[in-house]
Symmetry: C2
């Protein structure tokens, strides 16, 4: 089994590549739930939905979230009722939310609901929420403590970030659907997708026992850099790094994950950092990490799988 | 205050007329909830929604339910997930259901959620669910006992009806928002809308204390015939009457309500029944009861208000 830890867009793209490359094999995508929240009585799971839409090819690649060829009749009708529509749900996207609502109402856990959704979408790998417990990523800013969606959607990432907090994480057991195989030695490698290390991968690594399990595991752990040529491919990561006084380079990402990593996938535009990374004791693969289409996602997935094999050979 | 008891389409049309005629006065529409059910985690309230859409002029007059200029993106996307879409929710219609969901999730009763919806729609009268308790209209047929939606939507009213049952009615207190003013003497008349007497008005009259309160009240009670020229204007009422061995005439409606009534509004096509009704001790008004547009609804509403005054004068 391969485990991939994922946030939203970038993780979804690599997840699709991994799912394409690992057909018939055992792939488990572990998805951040720190951004999840309740809205109009629906459970909103932005990263999970980005990943399953991405793997199924239903995602809107221009907008970067939600479904392609979306319509907005319901949102506009909600606005007529005077409902604050700061968070938009498209008409097609609502179908997934209603399916989830009906599963949760009938007593399913987030993990069980996810499995049913994945099954109904015909997705050929596991996509598992990191935990069934509520964890809320709080962005600590000079505008106060903000929930991730407040920071990201309402305030457009404008407040200056000083730190992060994961409310509820200390009581949030990792979902057994992915953690049992990981701790049981059933994984041959873990890929940290090119997602935000603070607010996407950070919550998964922050769950009780996860970092220790990764260190104990014989399986290699690799990361794909979400920083390319001095900027984040998507989202507020570059701005966050600057506000935290860190360089906007792959080295900052490596420093964040530290000695958890056995390997690092660097973008070809950042090859200059390869020697410094190798000096720090990780194996480095270099490739074009921009996943602009399905084939590009497969290319990065192949680089990840090759690097995992290389780490494994070296360890063996 | 005027009280009107209403089911779906016919009641919605008369409700709109009453709301137009009674601007600035006190009108309370009491709506059947016996057809309500849970679907995909949403609370479906067909009659309530027909009434508020009808009063606001948002209803689809051709289809007979839901909103005008509706789209079906979400329903089609649900079908792609393999969700059984026997019960269709349009994209615009979903907005009302999500608003209701969010109100109910935040602890509102059905009555409180209804008041908020009515307020947000800018409706100038009260529209109150008959009760906050679950009541389920069961249609007893030669195909077994069916919930109303199963009978009406899934089985297209095809099974032969032998009787009706109101599951839970004995524990279902009428909502105080309409029952307190009724019992407190604050009503000057009650209109039973041209809705199905068995499955629309029947559940309201079947709530504990309602019939007794109507009999005790000094305010007159009148009904508008849902049977015109030997057929029901809408829905399975004519078929039900035949299967129950009753004539498809206003006399069967009168017989059903019996001595609860002080007045009866007869369609002009059925004027022939006026003498027989008068013999039975009710005041009769005759008018064109087909409410094909807004002005027609006002016309029937005026006939109702005039008949209530006539009953009142006579009693005084």
């Amino acid at each position: 089994m391969i485990h991939a830890f994922s946030g939203g867009v970038g993780g979804a793209r690599l997840s699709r590549g991994l799912a394409d490359e690992l057909v018939g094999e055992d792939l488990t995508i572990v998805v951040n739930t720190g951004d999840d929240f309740d809205h109009l009585g629906l459970r909103i799971m932005p990263d999970f939905d980005s990943v399953v839409y991405g793997i199924a090819g239903w995602n809107d690649t221009v907008r970067g979230w939600g479904r392609a060829e979306e319509t907005w009749q319901c949102r506009d009708a909600l606005a007529e009722f005077g409902v604050d529509t700061w968070f938009s749900l498209g008409d097609k996207d609502l179908a997934l939310h209603l399916l989830r609502l009906s599963l949760l109402e009938s007593g399913a856990t987030f993990t069980e609901a996810a499995a049913e959704i994945v099954h109904r979408m015909g997705i050929n790998c596991r996509v598992v929420p990191m935990t069934d417990h509520p964890v809320e990523t709080i962005v600590i800013t000079d505008n106060g403590d903000l929930s991730f969606q407040d920071y990201f959607v309402r305030m457009r990432c404008e407040p200056r970030v000083t730190a992060f907090r994961l409310a509820g994480v200390e009581r949030a057991a990792p979902s057994a659907a992915w953690f049992d195989p990981l701790t049981g030695g059933d994984t041959r490698g873990v890929v940290l997708c090119p997602s935000n290390p603070f607010v996407s991968i950070g919550p998964i690594l922050g769950l009780p026992g996860v970092e220790a399990a990764l260190r104990r595991s014989a399986a290699p752990v690799i990361a794909v850099s979400p920083i390319v040529a001095g900027d984040a491919v998507k989202g507020p990561l570059a701005k966050m790094l600057r506000e935290l006084g860190q360089p906007v380079t792959p080295l900052a990402i490596f420093a964040h994950y530290g000695d958890l990593l056995d390997g690092f996938v660097l973008d070809v535009r950042d090859e200059i950092f390869a020697p410094q990374l190798r000096e720090r004791g990780v194996r480095v693969a270099v490739c074009d990490t921009l996943m602009s289409d399905r084939e590009a996602s497969r290319r990065v997935a192949r680089a990840c799988l090759a690097l995992l094999s290389e780490c494994d050979d070296h360890a063996g």
